[in-house]
Subunit: 416 residues, 2 copies
């Protein structure tokens, strides 16, 4: 896959993603049943149909008077319709009467319509002529200001599909239909192994030649935000047996393994070799036409996706976006798109950005509003600088066949 | 604030928001110190400056050879520069030598530069002429392929401001600077009281005249997503003393109180009266030129913001967006904008939508991609239908002075 210079023959991003998609095994995900109170952000593992009509009866959507709509036809302010008000419908009660012609019943928003009524006249369109007599100033059409039985959700209608990541209103719909527990998928466990003789824990004092573990934190946060459980497996030295032991343990315990760092030439090859030693299909790609992120390793071992990630902080974020996010969607059981998947804003590019071409380039940008427009401002700096990620709010993608994007062009910013 | 018809004099959304802003007291928020592992999504209550230079020493960003850049000036493939390679720099170690002129040292990505070196020549731009002799095929500028000491973050430089909601990469920057715990604000507690004689718990069987509690779930999920702690206080009947007791308890226990429902005319006035009975400033507005969401009550009681929300599911979501979100930002301690605040996508409107004018209208929309464009498709249906919220991915806003938006116009969709 790579030539002597390690670049020109790097796989395209599309080819790498396709390789992953082809080899990722279709696994049965594990379900568990939880109360809806705990289901926000969880992914449904069952189809949810309504056990009943919602609402179960016709309700008023306004404060006013329940009427037989034909009693109001032709009513105007000059020629009002007169109706006798003999009853008031109490909230939460089933009316114990049927509305006869020429009569109206006082009703509040949410009240149940009595038999004989098919519309509600708003309070604002009525005047009292007498204590029990109202003037209706506008006609009400059949069904006006009413939610009919089953109008919201019909019995047996599909409310939510398997694979939906539940939003607040989705959970409300479940509650409305009387569903108090749902089956959701277990959260996938993602192990993160930091490798490198130069890596020390965040709690260690500064030391010449050493840097503190950072990428494991970026990855943990990204995994959490996507509904996974990050398992930080600590720091492993660049020693074949130690990395192999750590990977072996991680493979047994988790649904995906991320090996961060191991950024020296020898180590990168060693990481690929170690992954390969666990059996087929093993390493699918090693080197991608992606900037930053070129030395990424993508692999499947015993059905478990394994990624070897570059050491540069910005490269880690890009690899997550480009490769890991999709795999995590599969492992969390999410299907379809939906609002949780949309994280782009449209903006105008504030400065020219150039690209060497030949590889997909992800450029970090911050956002600013100016002149009523949203502008994407490229964040300059090497991909090895964590500050470029901290200053940025997202990235724009320059496809591999494009040599750059000019100031003022419209771009899609993928938000962090 | 309201005339006889309850509409024309309703406060504008801007005025209502301004009233809230003016009366919301500036409270000292409580801080706690937590390990950075638990800080994702939390809001910083301190300014974070770096205790040291990051990196602490000059590092290579590529695999190659550390050189004195002046030794490579003018090097080309035809006229390479020759350098003797006498040393290799091991990862994680401080080089125990100084590079003299005419010499190079093998170095891997992340390795520490020796004294005397100011640049790194990439492996790809070098050929071995002999075992210990390399040909440098391109010149290296001073600083090329090097991250200098302090280039990422300088000692005492502000890394993250008070009020930042921590993202994965922000936590990584903390780790990189050796900061393992941070002070964050306590999450605000938001009580939710459902009122209405017609409301029954989600677990109850269907009953004529009754509907199940739904809005408390929508609100809980929205509060959780914004970094608050929802406290569901159950369902209270439309009885003055019962609502007053529930509100009194909630005021003692929480940083904000949401009263959902109480949608009948009498109840709405009663809710406002009860809120007012707890003392000044009390009710700030009751009725807003907003659709859906007209009957919203906004109040401050003893420094605690209190909202009386309409019963319609879609109105609840709109009121949260328009009023509660901003208050929650203040209560969570968030400052400035930043990516977590940006939740809009640009789309083309797929159908004409009309508006009566005179009030700000929020229209639910779903999103679809077609012809390379993102389209916002209005979700039709009464605001009393939860299905309209489940089908929608966001809303578009029609300002009060606009009578409608035409198909094909560009709109900003505020994502749920």
């Amino acid at each position: 896959m790579r030539d002597m210079l390690g670049r020109e023959k790097a796989l395209s991003v599309e080819d790498a993603r396709q390789l992953l998609g082809t080899h990722l095994p279709a696994k049965e995900l594990i379900s568990l049943r939880i109360p809806i109170e705990q289901s926000f952000g969880r992914v449904l593992s069952e189809q949810i149909s309504s056990p009943e009509d919602l609402p179960a009866f016709s309700r008023s959507t306004v404060d006013g008077f329940a009427v037989n709509s034909s009693d109001t036809f032709g009513a105007t302010e000059g020629m009002p319709g007169y109706l006798t008000v003999s009853r008031e419908i109490l909230m939460g009660e089933r009316p114990d009467f049927t509305l006869t012609r020429g009569r109206a019943a006082k009703i509040a928003t949410g009240g149940m319509l009595p038999g004989g009524a098919d519309a509600v006249v708003m309070l604002e369109h009525v005047q009292y002529a007498d204590k029990d007599l109202i003037e209706v100033l506008r006609p009400a059409a059949p069904g006006e200001n009413v939610i009919s039985a089953g109008e919201d959700i019909r019995k047996d209608e599909l409310i939510l599909s398997r694979g939906t990541m539940l939003r607040p209103q989705d959970v409300a719909a479940l509650a409305g239909a009387g569903i108090t527990s749902v089956a959701v998928y277990e959260k996938p466990r993602v192990s993160i192994i930091s490798t490198g003789d130069e890596i020390i824990p965040a709690g260690s004092p500064a030391e010449a030649g050493k840097v503190r573990e950072m990428n494991a934190y970026t990855l943990s946060g990204l995994i959490l935000a996507q509904g996974g459980i990050p398992l930080r497996k600590g720091i492993v030295r660049d020693v074949y047996e130690e990395i192999r032991d750590a990977l072996g343990e991680a493979l047994r315990e988790s649904d995906m393994v991320l090996i961060s760092g191991g950024s020296s030439v020898g180590t990168k090859d060693m990481t690929a070799e170690i992954i390969g030693s666990f059996g087929p299909p093993g390493v699918l790609f090693h080197g991608v036409a992606l900037k930053p992120g070129k030395p990424t390793i993508g692999a499947i071992v015993g059905g478990v996706p394994v990624f070897g990630l570059p050491g540069h902080p910005a490269a880690v974020a890009v690899c997550f976006e480009v490769f890991i996010l999709d795999v995590l969607r599969v492992l969390t059981g999410r299907e379809g798109t939906g609002s949780s998947a949309r994280r782009t804003v449209s903006a105008l590019l504030a400065k020219n950005v150039s690209s060497d071409g030949g590889r997909e380039e992800h450029v970090r940008v911050s956002l600013k509003e100016e002149g009523g427009e949203l502008w994407a401002v490229p964040v300059l700096g090497k991909s090895g600088l964590i500050r470029t990620l901290v200053k940025a709010e997202g990235t724009i993608v320059i496809p591999s066949h494009v040599r750059g994007i000019e100031k003022g062009e419209r771009v899609n910013v993928l938000l962090f």
